[in-house]
Symmetry: C2
Subunit: 169 residues, 2 copies
């Protein structure tokens, strides 16, 4: 009748990060087929004051990494040094490895514990682990994952919601 | 150390639906200020083969309503008859009322029960309540909520992620 915070967080992050990696494969193949410079595609954005594709992927990775890290201690820092689709895929793979490296027990121990996290460059917020995950981490994670998909769809890459959901069947 | 399926589902849906309603207020005000026909804005889309704004909002509502409904029995049907921003706001309000009308006990009883739901026009899928919520309902719900935001940002409406997260402070 009850569930664990780890069984909400970990499958959500892993499934969507794995889906994003395959979406980037399709984006890279689309660039090759249409003779689009991948560096241009990585800088596509939906509005001048929104983040470009590359930053959306970095942020999706960071919301997964930082959520697991803050629930269990201090998250590792992954510098934003990616320049290519392959770099971004490596960032996703590194994030997946990190999420998998943390035990469910460590994550679940934080359910009722305070988690303090930055919101914007200066402010900090404190929530219980459960509220941090449900009310902050998941909406932010899905926000950047969906916007990655939306930028690519807007740029002509042939994707469907099945790709976003990670359905390969 | 453990949490309930209702405390994952209900706050996720309510917070984001309430945020979407306020986002639609800003979109409506933007249309008035810029002399944009709201009917045109409601048909904006990011790609010719993606759903327009109005359908994104209807789908976000439906993933909330159908999730709560399928976890606890049979969801009510809300016909897609909206034509204006006010209509969409009423749809959101009706969805919020429905989500609030279901007891946490009824939702939580479904955690380990089979939930059968349509995927596309012909197929059906069966998952346990927990997997249905975490692996299907939440990613789909956030997908359509984020795409609503992305369409409006792409169309010039001044919004920030605070609006998406429902932060009014």
């Amino acid at each position: 009748m009850s569930l664990q915070i780890s069984s909400v967080a970990v499958p959500s992050f892993l499934r969507t990060l794995e889906a994003l990696s395959k979406i980037l494969d399709k984006a890279s193949a689309y660039c090759a087929a249409k003779k689009i410079d991948p560096a241009v595609m990585l800088q596509m954005r939906l509005a001048p004051d929104m983040f470009p594709l590359i930053k959306q992927v970095q942020l999706a990775c960071d919301f997964a990494k930082n959520t697991i890290g803050r629930l269990t201690g201090e998250p590792p820092k992954f510098p934003d040094e990616e320049k290519t689709f392959d770099d971004l895929k490596a960032r996703i793979a590194k994030t997946i490895d990190y999420v998998k490296s943390v035990t469910a027990e460590a994550i679940d121990a934080s359910t009722d514990e305070d988690v303090t996290f930055p919101v914007g460059p200066e402010k900090k917020m404190t929530l219980k682990g459960e509220q941090y995950l449900v009310g902050f981490a998941l909406p932010n994670f899905y926000f950047h994952a969906t916007t990655t998909y939306d930028i690519l769809r807007h740029s002509g890459v042939e994707l469907g919601k099945r790709d976003f959901l990670g359905w390969t069947g």
